[in-house]
Amino acid sequence: MSTLTLRAAPPERLDFLNINPLALSRLSQAEAERLAVGTTRTGVRLGDCFSVALDGSDTLTIEGGHERLDRVGAALSEGAIRVAGDVGQRLGAGMAGGSLTVTGHAGPYAGAGATGGLITIDGDAGDHAGGAVYAAKAGLDGATLIIRGTAGAHLGDRMRRGILLAGRAGAYAGSRMIAGTLAALAVGDQPGYGMRRGTLLLGSHGRLSPTFVETGTHDLVFLKLLSKSLAGLSAEHAALLNRPLRRYSGDLATIAKGEIWVAS
């Protein structure tokens, strides 16, 4: 297991796009320490802020995170990264495979455009978790994103595929959703604003837009399959499906093929 240990708080935002087990396995320790990770004109190299210990394995541990570590695990395709601490924006953005675990909090845009793999955030996530970055065609796009704590606003904005679980979330959860499944124990106002397709499973929610219409209670085989699929990721979320569920259809402002299931 390769390890990076944070020695001092970074003086600027760092870009970890190129720091992953596969890339590090091909480098000597001195080469890894010289990797440029800074984002300002002064610049920072990996060895400036981190103690580096490499063993060529497919697992990387970052001991001591910081909210200035951007794009940790971005574009990860294989292997595992574990961060003991916080991370900044775009955690696992564009990730295609492997696993990514953060024990602390994540900044905004976690899992943006991620097409595969598993991202787990033990703490909270910022706004737009599983959401699309500026001008991107989709947010979460096939990966699995689990947020144990509270997510900010716009959770799963323009999400296109995959599963997104969150403890609590702010306003506009599942906004402009294209497809996929988003489950949360509680969300704020206006869930599903502008959603086209996709499934929201909610324990409770704030104000719901008048462009969602209740379509009654249903006993669908799909819900049993969803429960089975969620059970392996989070028992709490799977348990929502054991409660009576009301179904809302919307957003009627769009093609209205989305659905919100609310546990009562």
């Binding site: 004109r41 500026y134 065609k137 604003y193 837009s209 008048p210 462009t211």
Partner: protein, 359 residues
């Protein structure tokens, strides 16, 4: 030339020297505001590229609400002159557009061009509050503007129906020959703008309807094309790694200052815009037309384009960049020339090395 360093009046050379020493040692400088003519905006990007600064604008909230929606669904737009000349129905969304001169013109005139020539103009209001007294039909938006627009669009699509105010508003717009949806992007937000563009596109299946965004006092409408032709990106770009990187979250200067990531700011406001609160929290150089000693650590008075000197500015009326000659010429320097002096003086100094250990 009026200039101040730490509140004390001084000459231009001393002020530029103080600004250079502030910028030379900065790790992550920012050039913010960019409320200026095209020459100054170009000079700002040139300087930013050379010193590794990032850029943010005074009206970025509205600009990114517009650009975010534009990049995803496109836009169907008109100009103020077309709206005044042709619109027989104007839906004013929110309160902000009611306070613009355009609304005054729309309410005092009738269409004069095209098929609508001579007909009456209906002013409709959505979520305007007390500002909507001139409207012929008004509907409040208690749950928020973006939600009200979504509701309207659902009626437009026929997914919702009934004898409701929303249905009446949609009927007005569908019956109009040239409808205009007037909004302020900063007030409506990105989600709302995207929803409104979708609504306009669907109305165009049966009649003509266009959106028209009101911009603020800032020059963001000029910055967007200049940034595009200089960097290929939208305004919020950073040059810390030599190439322009566009990141609207990372280069939001208010966020950067709050997070302690910025150590020097150039506030460029050759045309007056509100001074942001965060400016007091960071070492700053202000290039402003209405100069006051207390505005920043280093303040240099520059000429206001269109008054003290000529310059190319956004022309709201014509929806284009146009040249404005000086109406009362003075000998104040242009913002572009001051930024050019800063660039030349910084180039003389030692370039920051990327190989120095940072922590």
């Amino acid at each position: 030339m009026a200039a101040w360093v730490k509140g004390g009046a001084t000459d231009a050379g001393t002020a530029i020297g103080a600004a250079v020493s502030l910028l030379a040692k900065a790790r992550a400088p920012v050039i913010a505001g960019l409320s200026a003519d095209v020459a100054a905006i170009r000079a700002a990007y040139d300087l930013a590229g050379r010193i590794g600064a990032s850029i943010d604008t005074a009206g970025a909230v509205g600009t990114y609400a517009e650009l975010g929606a534009l990049s995803r669904v496109g836009a169907i737009t008109s100009t103020p002159a077309e709206a005044v000349g042709r619109a027989d129905a104007v839906l004013v969304i929110g309160a902000a557009p009611w306070r613009t001169p355009l609304l005054q013109r729309l309410s005092e005139t009738k269409p004069t061009r095209g098929r609508t020539s001579g007909s009456d103009r209906a002013l409709l209001a959505l979520g305007a509050g007390a500002d909507s007294s001139k409207a012929t039909f008004s509907h409040p938006a208690e749950d928020g503007l973006a939600e009200a627009v979504a509701d309207l669009r659902a009626y437009g699509k026929g997914h919702l129906a009934g004898d409701t105010p929303q249905a009446k508003l949609v009927a007005h717009l569908t019956a109009a020959q040239y409808g205009v949806l007037l909004y302020d992007p900063a007030e409506l937000g990105e989600l709302g703008v995207e929803m409104l563009q979708g609504f306009a596109m669907e109305l165009n299946e049966t009649t003509r309807c266009f959106t028209l965004a009101m911009s603020g006092a800032d020059q963001d409408r000029a910055v967007v094309p200049v940034a595009a032709w200089l960097t290929g990106q939208a305004p919020r770009s950073g040059f810390g790694r030599r190439v322009p990187e566009h990141d609207p979250w990372r280069f939001d200067v208010a966020r950067q200052v709050a997070a302690g990531e910025v150590d020097a700011v150039i506030w460029l406001a050759a045309l007056p815009v509100d001074r942001p609160d965060w400016l007091a929290a960071v070492p700053s150089v202000a290039l402003v037309a209405e100069a006051k000693a207390s505005l920043a650590d280093v303040v240099i008075a520059v000429g206001r384009p269109g008054r003290d000197l000529g310059g190319v500015l956004w022309n709201e009326q014509r929806a284009a960049l146009t040249y404005w000659p000086a109406s009362a010429p003075t000998d104040l320097p242009s913002a572009a020339s001051v930024l050019g002096s800063l660039r030349d003086r910084l180039a003389e100094g030692r370039a920051a090395s990327r190989s120095e250990p940072a922590c």
